[in-house]
Symmetry: C2
Subunit: 168 residues, 2 copies
């Protein structure tokens, strides 16, 4: 299954990979810490809240949220439980489909997002956007676009999301 003898990566390829991982990893850490410090939310929770906040009714189904946040359903249930306990969201059975759960952001949840957002933007500017500059931002978008598209076409992890293939 593996290539007979994989061509080693050249210096540029290695550098690109390492740079990407170093930058994203640092950024991730910084964002995580800012969110925790300023508003006691994790990155995942912030993503969910921000997404809910921008939804038409401040609502979303669990499944739709799970599509956004890559993780497993049980992981999302865990996060939802945490956020419900914190008063950021409510969960209630969906009206159309009794199987579904509708997640709705509360005023407390909205406030928390507002509270945390300035610092979040600040971190992004300081660590990523300012160093990039306007031109760098444009370049970055163009360069990463095809990578992202390629990733989206390939099933990210063929194991996970297929539910019908129970052929053992």
């Amino acid at each position: 299954m593996a290539t007979a003898a994989a061509e080693p990566l050249d210096d540029g390829e290695l550098a690109a990979f390492f740079a990407l991982m170093e930058v994203s990893s640092n950024l991730q850490h910084a964002v995580e810490q800012q969110l925790r410090t300023d508003g006691d939310v994790s990155c995942v929770q912030f993503l969910i809240l921000a997404r809910l906040r921008d939804s038409p009714e401040g609502e979303s189904r669990m499944t739709d949220l799970a599509d956004l946040v890559v993780y497993s359903r049980s992981a999302l249930t865990y996060q939802a439980a945490q956020m419900e306990k914190a008063g950021f969201i409510t969960r209630s059975p969906s009206v159309n489909d009794e199987r579904s759960t509708t997640v709705k952001i509360t005023d407390t949840g909205r406030e928390r997002v507002e509270k945390v957002l300035p610092g979040h933007i600040d971190v992004l500017r300081r660590l990523l956007l300012n160093p990039l500059g306007p031109q760098g931002v444009t370049t970055m978008n163009k360069t990463l676009e095809c990578v992202r598209d390629a990733m989206r076409q390939t099933p990210p992890r063929s194991a996970a999301p297929r539910a019908s293939n129970k052929q053992k």
Copy 2:
């Protein structure tokens, strides 16, 4: 401390941030899974092993490894213990400085790296380098270079690495 009213991000800035996070997150996941499947090592462990393998004597001090892997010292100790148990490394007191621990990669460790490497390269090519293309690789390096440099100058997290400030 926070900006009075943080300028919201424009679409391009948001897109750049999201693209970076999506690409790096997917890549991270894919790499993690490949390493686990092919050789039952985590990404962190692979990084450590790869670094040791490329060291002059296949050796390194714990502290030097900790500088490489961002995490805390205790986290590194944990990983080292796992890898020692798996037979990938040995730990012994350093000759120069009795406080230090010298970590050395074993033949088993080297074999494991070799075993995992082709698949690793394969993933990087498929998900990142091929979509980028030679030109994209170059562009990426140039674009991320200044970001990385800026990050390295700013203390990543001012809280962590200072040991002397016990003022409290």
